[in-house]
Symmetry: C2
Subunit: 154 residues, 2 copies
C-alpha cells in the first residue's frame, strides 16, 4: 500500500482505538514528504468542522505559511464530505487520494451521503431551513471589495 | 433591517475597509442573543477554511461547549459556499438567513458557484483530480468504529 495512504488509514484506526474520535485520517504531502497529518477531532474538541481533512489542510497551510496548497497531494482514509471537499477546492491542491467512499461512510453511520444530496438543491428545497434576506448594504460590501486597492484575492 | 443580519453585514463591510479579508460576516444567535460573530480571515490567518461561517460555527460551539448548534440561528452576509454549507449541516442549527447569493459572490470574484457545480459531479468527473484507492484496512476502521463501545456519534 502507498505509504501516505497507509499513514492516513493508521490515523483513522488509531482514532477509534484511542476513543479520540471518528474513523478518519488525512495526510498532506509536498515534494514527497508529509507536511501535515490529522485525525477527526469533532467530539474531542467540540468543533463540528474538525474533520481530518479540514485539520490537515489548516496545518499544512500553517506549515507553508500560505492559504493555498500549491503542488500538494492529499491522502485521506475516506472520500471527503462536501465540507471537506469545499475546503480542498479553496486550498487548491494537485490531487486527492481517498480510500473509503461516501456510501461506506453512510453505512458506518455518517451523514456524508445525505449532505451530498442536499448541497445541489436550491436553498429553499433543502431540509435545512434557509431564508434569503437580500440587502443593498450586503451588495455594497461586494462593490467595496471590488473597488479596494488593498484586497488580497484568494 | 434585522439587527442580526445588520451585524453580519457590518462585519463584512468593516473587513474590507480594514483590509483584513473578504467581504463576508456571520453571526450565530441563540435564544435571541448573539453567541458568536466572525468575519472572513483566509488571507489574514493563512487558513483557506477561515470563512466567516466556519469561524462563527466554531466559536459558537466553543461558547456552548458542544459540537452541535442545537436551537441556533445563523445570519450570514452571503449564501454559504459548499464548505460552509457542509459545516452548517454537521452543526445542525435551526435556520440560516443569508443576504448576498452565490451568483453575486461569483460576480465579485469568488469561486462559490464553481464549487457548487463541482460538488455534485462524480469524483472522476471533477476538475480537481481525485483518485479512489480502496483498502481493506480503511474499511476495517469503519468496522472498528461500529463495534466500539466508547464511540460518541456526531
Amino acid at each position: 500500500m502507498n505509504l501516505f495512504m497507509q499513514t492516513a488509514i493508521a490515523l483513522a484506526t488509531e482514532n477509534v482505538r484511542s476513543g479520540a474520535g471518528g474513523p478518519f485520517g488525512a495526510v498532506v504531502v509536498k515534494d514527497g514528504a508529509i507536511i501535515a497529518t490529522a485525525a477527526n477531532a469533532v467530539t474531542a474538541t467540540n468543533d463540528p468542522t474538525a474533520h481530518a481533512e479540514i485539520l490537515a489542510v489548516r496545518k499544512a497551510c500553517q506549515a507553508l505559511n500560505h492559504y493555498q496548497l500549491d503542488g500538494c497531494e492529499i491522502y485521506t482514509s475516506c472520500e471527503p464530505c462536501p465540507m471537506c471537499l469545499g475546503a480542498i477546492y479553496w486550498a487548491r491542491p494537485t490531487v486527492v487520494y481517498y480510500a473509503n467512499t461516501r456510501a461506506e461512510a453512510a453505512e458506518a453511520g455518517f451523514d456524508d451521503s445525505f449532505i451530498y444530496e442536499q448541497v445541489p438543491l436550491a436553498p429553499h428545497q433543502r431540509e435545512l431551513r434557509m431564508i434569503h434576506l437580500p440587502h443593498d448594504e450586503a451588495l455594497d460590501s461586494f462593490l467595496k471589495w471590488r473597488a479596494s486597492q488593498s484586497r488580497i484575492s484568494y
